[in-house]
Structure formats: structure tokens, C-alpha cells
């Protein structure tokens, strides 16, 4: 677990920055919340928006419960993109940055296998991701409680789990894509591409679909907070699919790393 702790230590500043960003975001959202909650004009505007634009701004939730919907749009809906970008970047850096800075000579000069090196570093990244989701969900629940709205603990825990799985798969994809990259910049480019392209693709498909019917925007497709908040059902299918996909992608990255130059 020594390499795991070393990798966690390397990511400590990122955690700290994320926690500060979340706290500041909640503070900004919190200060604007009273105006949003009592705005009849906003509700009217939302109800008159075309379906596709209404989806982009929070869909049904925003129209029916402005404060809840506002929060949802600000903190929940697009979080996977932010954490996904962070995870893609970090996962791409896991191997490429160490390779570029020739730190593998230091680490692999010790009796450590490449498999252990990769898996413990990936484990540290997952811990960081889980912590980021936890910080975010806690901030969300704190906000709801402060404004006297019911804190849906199970619902938001499921949202956090779903989001974690999506960003885990994004990180695994970025790790796989960057494992054989010849330099750090190429690796990071791959990582960001893996994080952003599925999101943009999904968004465009859903905007097109929304024009034909009443639907919410669900970034990445497999991230579905409204349904989880509504049904409280554990997403077994999504969980199994994303875990298997992540496992295969990490295995692919390991295969490349074990056969490549360091």
C-alpha cells in the first residue's frame, strides 16, 4: 500500500482545491437561492421555453420546484463532466507524467512490479474520485437542509454512486488510451478527449431527442439522477456494465504498460 499512499499524497492538493471549489460554489448558489426560489418570472420563463432548451436548464425539476431544480442544474447535472475531466486528466497523468519525469527509474528500481505500481496508483485515483463525490453530495445535502427542503439521503447516495461509476469508467478509459502514449501532452490530450467526447455526443443526441418529446438531459447516458431520485432503485444494470467496462479498460492499460518502455 506504500505506492497507494504516495499517489494519494500526490493528489492531495487537487482534493483540497476541489473541496474549496465545491464550498465556494455552494456558497454562490446559496446566496442566489432566495431570489430563484421566489421568482415567478423565472418559472414563467422556464415553462415557456422550447423543450430542448428546458432540458438544458434542468427540465421538469427546474420548472416544478425552482430551488431544487436550480440546485440540480448547478451541482448535480454537470458534475460528471467536471469530475470526468479531472479524472481523465489525472488518469492520463498516472503513467505519462511519471514516465516523462523518469520517476519509473526510481520506483521500478525497487522490487515493485508494474502491475502493483499501476493498480495502487489507480486505487489512489479512485479514492480521490470517491472523496470528490462525497464532498459534493455532502455539500448538496447541507444546502437542502439549510433551506428546509427534505434531505433525500438514499436518493443522493445513489446519485453519488452513479456519478462515481461514470467517472470511474472515464478514468479507466483515459488510462487505457494514454498507457502507450509517447509523451505527457499526448496522454493528457487522450484523457481529456475520453472525458469530453462521450458527454458532448450524448448531449447532442438528447437535445435532438428532446425536440421530439419531453426528456431530461442526462450527461453520459448512464448518469440518471432524476430517475434515481424518483425511484430510489439501485442501478444494478448500470453498475454491472460500468464496473465490467472499467475492469476491461484497466486490464488493457496494464497489458500495454507491462509490455511498453518506461
Amino acid at each position: 500500500m506504500t505506492i497507494y499512499r504516495l499517489a494519494l499524497r500526490q493528489q492531495f492538493v487537487t482534493w483540497l482545491v476541489w473541496a474549496v471549489v465545491i464550498v465556494l460554489s455552494v456558497d454562490v448558489v446559496d446566496s442566489a437561492a432566495p431570489a430563484v426560489a421566489s421568482s415567478h418570472a423565472l418559472s414563467l420563463l422556464l415553462s415557456n421555453l422550447p423543450a430542448s432548451l428546458r432540458s438544458l436548464t434542468g427540465g421538469r425539476l427546474m420548472a416544478s420546484r425552482p430551488l431544487d431544480g436550480y440546485l440540480y442544474v448547478k451541482l448535480v447535472l454537470y458534475l460528471p463532466l467536471l469530475i470526468g475531466i479531472f479524472s481523465g486528466f489525472q488518469a492520463a497523468s498516472l503513467l505519462a507524467r511519471e514516465r516523462e519525469q523518469r520517476r519509473f527509474d526510481l520506483l521500478l528500481g525497487l522490487p515493485v512490479t508494474r502491475r502493483r505500481l499501476l493498480l495502487e496508483r489507480m486505487g489512489a485515483l479512485l479514492t480521490a474520485q470517491a472523496a470528490m463525490w462525497a464532498i459534493t453530495i455532502l455539500a448538496l445535502c447541507g444546502f437542502l437542509a439549510r433551506h428546509g427542503l427534505g434531505v433525500d439521503t438514499r436518493g443522493y447516495t445513489l446519485v453519488g454512486w452513479n456519478g462515481f461509476l461514470v467517472t470511474l469508467t472515464t478514468a479507466a478509459g483515459a488510462l487505457w488510451a494514454s498507457a502507450g502514449a509517447r509523451d505527457y501532452r499526448t496522454a493528457v490530450r487522450w484523457g481529456l478527449l475520453i472525458a469530453v467526447v462521450p458527454f458532448v455526443y450524448d448531449l447532442s443526441v438528447r437535445i435532438a431527442a428532446a425536440a421530439q418529446g419531453w426528456r431530461d438531459i442526462l450527461p453520459y447516458g448512464y448518469y440518471n439522477p432524476p430517475q434515481l431520485l424518483l425511484t430510489h432503485a439501485f442501478p444494478w444494470g448500470t453498475t454491472a456494465l460500468l464496473l465490467v467496462a472499467s475492469g476491461l479498460l484497466v486490464y488493457g492499460a496494464l497489458w500495454t504498460f507491462e509490455r511498453g518502455e518506461v
Binding site: T2, I3, L6, R9, Q10, Q101, R102, R103, F104, D105, L106, L108, G109, L110, P111, V112, T113, R259, E261, V262
Partner: protein, 295 residues
């Protein structure tokens, strides 16, 4: 005495065709082996291949009795490795690096390592980002020596060290040798190689072009000759084996590589007033191997 490092036709060829192109070598336990060659000759590639850090593309090698390709974990367990450009973690202290290395090696007793650190003058509690190049190098040397390894593979170990630290480091290497440790080190500092090594290997374009004791290399390969003539000195540029000819008035200074017969026959016809033969330094031997390329 058994071989601590054994390489047979070892190859590590990169896509550009460079690397190590068939290196065969046997280094006995307790031997200090100096590895010479300019930048890009294949020194670092050889050391990394011996550590099992890259996939070798042909041949085989053993370090401490273990195959570097199939049993690299055992090799690394028994070997202390100093990379050519040691990259440490900027936000960690020397002590944290030491703790990391010893924990991964499963060494609970830090006393030996701390003794080495004290002798080298490593600033254990300072963060790497606040250290000078020399102090970083000391930390990297400490990490290589910390677990009291059987074999040391050191790539340019004295780079960046001040003269006092270099002296301490050489003392440590001599002690390690007396304790039966095997040391394989590359260096650009030829007097240092000459002073420390039992044997020297010279690598050129990925191939080992000479392996011998320092004394044998100095005797067999090259002689330094000084000639003084009473009148205008003759032209020796066409004499077989003569190189590095320097004329200063009636005095000539030159090197002769290999057979002295050609020069002696020439001198029989052009007898000088005075002549001296001497063994060159290792540096001059090294230059003859590399001078051939330029000439």
C-alpha cells in the same frame, strides 16, 4: 568466485537502431567495474537492461544469479540502482524517500541507511525542491545503498557532487568492495574510473570495444613517445600506428597505438637526440578509442 553480473550477447535495440548491440561481459563478485563511453554510446541502456527496466531485444543477462528478464524482481531486490538522471519527488524530504524505499524493500532496520546518510551529509529533513543538484544526487545515492545490496549499478554516480562529497563517496565504494559487494558504474570522470576500478569496459556505438584492467589497457593499447632532435625533426605522419602528433620546435610528442615496430624502424633511420616512452593515462587510452572516429 562466482559471476555477479553475466551478460551474453545482450541486446537492447531501439526503433532508431541505437542501443546496446550484443554485449557480453562477466563481472566477478567483489569486483569494481568501470564503464566508459561518451553520451549516447549505450551506458545507460546497458545499466537499465541489467536492472530489468526495459525489455531486452536479444541475448540474456544475469545479476546476482537471477535472470534480468524473467526474475527482475529478485534482481532489483538484491541490487542498488542509481539512475543517470535521478528524478525524486519534489514535495518529499530525503527521509520520506528513504522510508518509502526501505518499506518497499521490506527493510525494517534503518540504522545502516542512516549511517550512510550521515557520512554522505544528506539533508534528510529538507524537501527535495529546496535541495541543490548535488544534494539531490546524495539522496539518490543513499537510496541505492540504503538496503546494503549485493550488487551496485551506478550510472554517473558523482555527477553534481562537490569534491568533498566525491571523496566520501569513493571511500564508501572502496569499503563496499572490501565487504565483497560488486560495483558496476559508469562515469565520465576518467581519473575516478582509473582510481577505483579493477577492470574497465569501453563501449562505443552500443558495442563493447575493450575490457581489461586499467593497467593492461594502458600498457597494451598505447604508448606516449617524446622525441627531441638536434636539427629539424622528420615528418612522422605516415608512420604506422602514430597519432596525436604534436611538434614544438625540435621536440615531438606523439602516441603509438598497438605495434611499435613501424616507429622503431623509422627511428633507426632518423635517430633522435633523446627519446622517452611512457604509459598514457586512462583518459588518453579512452581518447584513442574515440579518436579513431574523428581521424
Amino acid at each position: 568466485m562466482s559471476a555477479a553480473i553475466l551478460a551474453h550477447d545482450l541486446r537492447k535495440v531501439y526503433r532508431n537502431g541505437r542501443g546496446v548491440l550484443g554485449l557480453s561481459l562477466e563481472i566477478q563478485q567483489g569486483e569494481v567495474f568501470g564503464f566508459l563511453g561518451p553520451n549516447g554510446a549505450g551506458k545507460t541502456t546497458t545499466i537499465r537492461a541489467l536492472m530489468g527496466l526495459g525489455r531486452i531485444t536479444g541475448g540474456s543477462a544475469q545479476v546476482a544469479g537471477f535472470d534480468v528478464a524473467r526474475e527482475s524482481l529478485e534482481v532489483r531486490r538484491r541490487t542498488g540502482y542509481l539512475p543517470g538522471e535521478p528524478a525524486l519527488y519534489d514535495n518529499m524530504t530525503g527521509r520520506q524517500h528513504l522510508a518509502l524505499a526501505l518499506r518497499l524493500r521490506g527493510v525494517p532496520d534503518h540504522r545502516y541507511a542512516l549511517g550512510v546518510a550521515e557520512r554522505l551529509g544528506v539533508e534528510l529533513d529538507r524537501r527535495v525542491r529546496q535541495m541543490s543538484r548535488g544534494n539531490r544526487q546524495k539522496v539518490a545515492i543513499l537510496l541505492a545503498l540504503a538496503h546494503d545490496p549485493e550488487v551496485l549499478l551506478l550510472d554517473e554516480p558523482t555527477t553534481g557532487l562537490d569534491p568533498l562529497a566525491q571523496d566520501v563517496f569513493r571511500d564508501i565504494l572502496r569499503e563496499e568492495q572490501h565487504r565483497g559487494r560488486t560495483i558496476f558504474f559508469s562515469s565520465h570522470v576518467l581519473p575516478e574510473v582509473q582510481e577505483l576500478s579493477d577492470r574497465v569496459g569501453i563501449i562505443r556505438d552500443g558495442r563493447l570495444v575493450a575490457v581489461d584492467t586499467v593497467e593492461a589497457l594502458r600498457h597494451s593499447r598505447l604508448k606516449e613517445v617524446r622525441l627531441r632532435y638536434a636539427e629539424e625533426p622528420p615528418d612522422l605522419s605516415g608512420v604506422p600506428g602514430v597519432r596525436g602528433l604534436e611538434a614544438k620546435g625540435q621536440e615531438l610528442r606523439l602516441h603509438v597505438a598497438g605495434d611499435l615496430g613501424g616507429l622503431l624502424r623509422f627511428l633507426a633511420d632518423h635517430v633522435p637526440a633523446d627519446v622517452t616512452f611512457s604509459d598514457p593515462s586512462l583518459e588518453e587510452v579512452f581518447r584513442t578509442y574515440y579518436g579513431e572516429r574523428g581521424s
